[in-house]
Amino acid sequence: MNKLIKVFTKESAVVPLIAIVLGLLVGAVIMWLGGYDPILAYRSLFNKVFGNPYDFGETLTAITPLVFTGLSVAFAFRTGLFNIGAEGQYIMGMTGATFIGVNLHMPWYIHAPLAIVVGTLIGGIWGMIAGYLKAARGVNEVITTIMLNWIALHLSNYIVRRFLLEEGKGRSFMIDENARVTIGWLSRMLDDARVHWGMFFALLAVIFVYAILFRTKQGYELRVVGSNADAAKYAGINVNAGIVKAMFISGALAGMAGVFQVLGVFMNQAIAAGTTGHGFDGIAVALLGGNNPIGVLLGAILFGTLSYGAAGMSFGANVPPEIIRIVIGSVIFFVAAPGIIRWGMKKFKHKSSKGEAV
């Protein structure tokens, strides 16, 4: 509970809020300089997200994978590992889910859960490779995860082409109806938006990660390893096993992001030329959320909302959607360097007190 309260204490709540405002301001100034109407742009963004049930539902759908990849990166960070490989784990999770979804035919209460479990496991294993190489051979996980991203992309393309391809479609067969995790009634309520159970799993994952990290013996161990590996060794904790476990969990979380994109959104996997960037965005989300599970949730909401709303900006105000990356970047910047905000506030206070003196 204490941590929960900490999140909402003064300093830690005010700084992000100011950061968001400043980030939006930076975006506004740039738009204004470029000859666009920032007010119209932000209004369009807001309308795109909250203007109708459909887009609201789709925004939720856009947020969901970011929660998972954000948690993935944050979890690894907490255990002292920098997982740049959420991207690859995401793809592998996707492939695992597609494989089960396409190739098997079972009742829904087995099929969907099985697809989720298999995809998640494969994402986890993909993460574990980097963990194992670090534990056993001392290979820096930053390099291996970068390399494994590319390997995952091509490997999954191979699997789709070789085992799952629907001829002439450039993608796998559609997954079995029973493997889908869409929520019919909610989807109908939201004008057919592609909402799915993944978002509830995302919320569960937030709680799960929080509980694991801060409530369980396992998480305690992993945090000790992350914070001071030497002390962990002296305390009799198996550091290498910790690294492998942590990367497994991290990978599994990223894998889940991919799993639900397949089972809830696309229903198939395309042969992809490149990665979607959800894994990299996960790094940003994790950092935005201060590597705290609840922070990650909030970060993903912000990130997802802005990204999804960007299309509205470009539709309603003809603003190039790239601007939103500048906004997000600025928000993270101000969150990460609270010194700037404090410095600014001090200057501000200083000035106003000077003003009074005069």
Binding site: S227, N228, A231, Y234, A235, G236
Partner: protein, 514 residues
Amino acid sequence: MEQARTVVEMRNITKRFPGIVANDNVSFTLGKGEIHALLGENGAGKSTLMNILFGLYQPEEGEIFVNGQKVNIDGPNKAISLGIGMVHQHFKLVHPFTVTENIILGSEPKKWMGLAVDRKLAYEKVEHLSKQYGLNIDPYAKIDDISVGMQQRVEILKTLYRGADILIFDEPTAVLTPQEIAELLVIMKNLVQQGKSIILITHKLKEIIAIADKVTIVRRGKLIDSLPVAGTNPNMLAEKMVGREVSLKFDKKEAVIGEPVLEVDRLVMKGRGGRDALNETSFVLRRGEILGIAGVEGNGQSELIEALTGLSSVAGGSIKLAGVEIAGMTTRQVSEAGLSLIPEDRHKHGLVLDFPVRENMVLETYYQSPFTQNGFLNFTAIEKHAERLVKEFDVRTPSIMTDARALSGGNQQKAIIAREVDKNPEVLIAAQPTRGLDVGAIEFIHKRLVEQRDMGKAVLLISYELDEIMQVSDRIAVIYEGRIVGEVKPSETNDQQLGMMMTDYKAPQGGPDN
């Protein structure tokens, strides 16, 4: 010695840190050719005052005069140009660099129009300086490869290289062996003879009496007294320092020795570079006794600890704990078998500095009931445990939710001892348990070790400080090059004899000349 001319005068210095006044209107005067001791408890503000003189901190109030001139020391550069040099409490050495590189850093001899470092000239200069002051340093050695004593000499050379006339030594002897301390004192005397002035921070009253001309005492940031050393005695200094009477004599009951509990037999372990770090080390530890392992740092003590605790595997020999073979067990198994360790490096090995005290208190027992139930941490139990230990061991912390990093060194150490002792081990290994602590804290910790002994536990005290070994141990084993070379009773030996055993003294060696 000529009549002391004032070289440094610090007037009414005040320095605040968030929540604390580290220096409260402190004045300090250093005469030329003087060795001036600065004495005070942990956290009294000694380092802070000296860091101000060296330009690392800026004081909120006060003035500084060097050689009669009012100066504004806005950075180390300024201090260096004023002829001030500082040997820091925690060495400021770049470990992957060589001795020479460390010494010349910042004022390198140059060649090719300043484009390149003139290494040849640098090595020559360092060699020359080292000879001049009798420091005997290998200019080509990497810092990583030399002993702590040598590292300190590098620090001294750094200041001399920059032409310092005023040298500040911040707890220089805390990490040295008796021999090294003796040598250092000689070096310091040497330096003042060559016209340097020295400020010496130390917790060791003996050293002050032995070498200092004047002593200034601070307590909780405030100046208490400044007086000539002649005419003082350790008890008087200690009392001024803590503000109450302290007994410097350490009393303990006669040990009631029981059956053997830790039997180490011909332990062999390979060290770095293939040489034997432990070379058939054997000894026996019995219930109700404190066995002190005396020795110069680097003679296998660290490896011995690693072997005993299962951190590293041994190449041969056996370790029996209460009759059970523990060689080959994991660290956790060893711990469960009844062995506790107070590690040498509290920051690196003893604590997770970014965790609150609460979580540090269960670092080795978190997985056991009642701290973990069904895989979940039981914070009620953990908190109760932490509260109890904090109280029992007088760990001064604002709360058990405070991060360990925020505790002072002494309190960090108390927290570790609380944790280890509370595990109720058969054998408690205490490695350098009082390094860098003030007399009050040292007293507290020593008492706890003896308490364990009196409860019938066995304590293995590994220390580089002879005083500590002599005071606390019931029996002393001397380790040299990975081998126990002799065992003595404290009452039947003295510093000289021990010192000789520790260096495997055979013939007189060429020490620093004077």
